[in-house]
Subunit: 433 residues, 2 copies
Amino acid sequence: MNFNPSRDFARQLDTQDELASFRSQFVITNPDLIYLDGNSLGRLPKAAAERVSAAVAEWGSDLIRGWNKRWWDSPTRVGEKIARLVGAGPGQVIVSDSTSVNLYKTVMAAMALHPQRGRIVTDALNFPSDLYVLQGVIRQLSPSTLHGKSRAWGRHQIVRIESQDGDVSPDLDALASAVDENTSLVTLSHVTFKSGYLYEMAAITEMAHRKGALVLWDLCHSVGALPIQLDRCNADFAIGCTYKYLNGGPGSPAFLYVHRDLQEQALSPIWGWWGQKSPFAFDLDYTPAPGIKRFLAGSQPILSMLALEAALDPLLEAGMDRIRCKSVLLTEYLIYLADTLLAPLGFTLGSPRTPDRRGSHVSIRHPEGYRINRALIDEMNVIPDFREPDNIRLGLAPLYTTFGEVWESMDRMRRVVEDRRFEKYPKERLTVT
Amino acid sequence: MNFNPSRDFARQLDTQDELASFRSQFVITNPDLIYLDGNSLGRLPKAAAERVSAAVAEWGSDLIRGWNKRWWDSPTRVGEKIARLVGAGPGQVIVSDSTSVNLYKTVMAAMALHPQRGRIVTDALNFPSDLYVLQGVIRQLSPSTLHGKSRAWGRHQIVRIESQDGDVSPDLDALASAVDENTSLVTLSHVTFKSGYLYEMAAITEMAHRKGALVLWDLCHSVGALPIQLDRCNADFAIGCTYKYLNGGPGSPAFLYVHRDLQEQALSPIWGWWGQKSPFAFDLDYTPAPGIKRFLAGSQPILSMLALEAALDPLLEAGMDRIRCKSVLLTEYLIYLADTLLAPLGFTLGSPRTPDRRGSHVSIRHPEGYRINRALIDEMNVIPDFREPDNIRLGLAPLYTTFGEVWESMDRMRRVVEDRRFEKYPKERLTVT
């Protein structure tokens, strides 16, 4: 595509955008605010707001009967909707708990499937919380910490592949070499949280399977942003959050996928009544439910769950192929403008240049990134987010981000730097709480 | 108290009820419906409905900034509100995840604190899901299942005390004998889910501590129904749900308590960024947060969380002593009416007679309990619930249950049996799918 840097060109791209009408399905209270953090918390879909309101009314009038009407089967029902977005056939996806808890459940299940192996391979581009979960699992499987005998479990270890290019892309050769006959599990973020690097799911999964390892994909930054084919790639496990491109709302419950072929052997470490074969028989002994339900434990937050259920409809209606198509155009256009308008001001690209290897957010780096990000939020009505040490992350959500917003945000960023507006902010990081 | 069985007497009790005005703080769409299942799902507080509505609006307009404003610290902020209901000093309660997940986290933490011991003591009156969680933990700690070597971990076992009197009360002597020098943990439901038996928390905790065991209380059926003194009883851990007497809404997030003295050594098995010392530093290695926050893992469902936050206010305003006082009067009155009106029709009491040993729900047993329960719901506008094999469970929530409703429900139950209305229902159990 031949872009040009004029504002008119952005207008033209918006006129040609076949997904443009989806923006009206979202609540937009301030049209001048350019929201580029839908990769952290998606905008509020009008349908979600209505569904929450209805759910509260159901609580008031149906009371306990609400569970039988629409609530009890929501973890599988909403799971099936997500399944359509991630290329999973029926009976393999449930919605429950947080991403971290789901990662824990699936990693523990994977490790138990390979009791003779002990290595987990991941990379330094992975979301740190994922690394923490893995570290907790290793600590637990190693009796040196729990029990005082380290020898038996000495083979348990995490191999974390370091990036060669300043945290933009993984070192694929190092990754392939690290996967050996002692590897239980390879687990990676499908799209990395900082640079937006997109792993080739089919190739990596196949490589790991050749060594007999299982593969678990974290889909947080890819689900809802691009087509995913879990079944076709033969992924073993996947997890993901629902509050980014799925627009489920703050802290909406996460999902997990377990490949059909593994469901009979795989067990969640957390046994609860929702994962029991007959939860209302109240047997005193646990018998896992057949299929994916055994990965449920306790009750799910229904108001947040039903907001998510409604939020998924616009994505299903638009279709992941059209969403990806616009996403690539948005990120290509943003990178073109950054190269043209911002590179002369000291900005560099912190994301892959090839669209094939990139998700739907772009990192733009600048030594003053932290203060520029603050100025954008406080003075320029642009909301990106910042990730250490110098990344301004710009999330482009095809259902509501316009090309005009991309142009405008690049222009405002240019003004922040040209006018030195960032200089009044302290360099010390603000911390939450 | 000298009760009498007339409807007028019920009216008189309502007139004298100092908590009567709290009923108006709840949404009641059908005044003829007698809701006696607040011990499963509490009624909708008006303040919770308003708060959810405001939270949805915050999502729409604050977008990601909502996290810094009111969302990020909600697990501890709402935790501190619950702390005031359970006799816990600051910094010991958080709201997160489901009850089952919290039980798993705290049981695993407790087991790791006692690596030389291996026995968990519980009872058959415990909620089955709690037993499932324990079974999962034992399976995991025993390498016979994970690793093929059973000897080293052979001491891991669950001792489940059976009830001597048809699941009404525990066998306290058997319980005391089961706690030995190999016991890591004693875990019990403070109020049992079926009979409503209320354990003496201080005495049991002290008994277990004498043997060097830790104690974990499940407060699901006691929190919000009666005063609890976790600190004063020296409880080590506690967990509980928030959708029963706390009125947090369907599947609202659960809470957990870790005694201050244990917080430095105790670790959650699920390591996530919310439990990391500096979550936004994105270090690649996990360092547990100081204090109770280390028991957090991932993001919490904010809509459900904020509904809960608002729902707690009426409880705090009424005060647990007044709530308990009315609760005892309600259950005493119900038992009096059951003895007077229902015993001649074949009903027996499935709950302790002494109010000191009883929570805020009462089980009434009848061989036709299942069908009577169905007739009450389908024809008589009374909602109790049923627990196998023959328990009709009647939950009395002091903030909104009236004495008039107790009288009326007993009268409707009498009519169901006298008129044989239950006979048209099949004996086969309906199951929730």
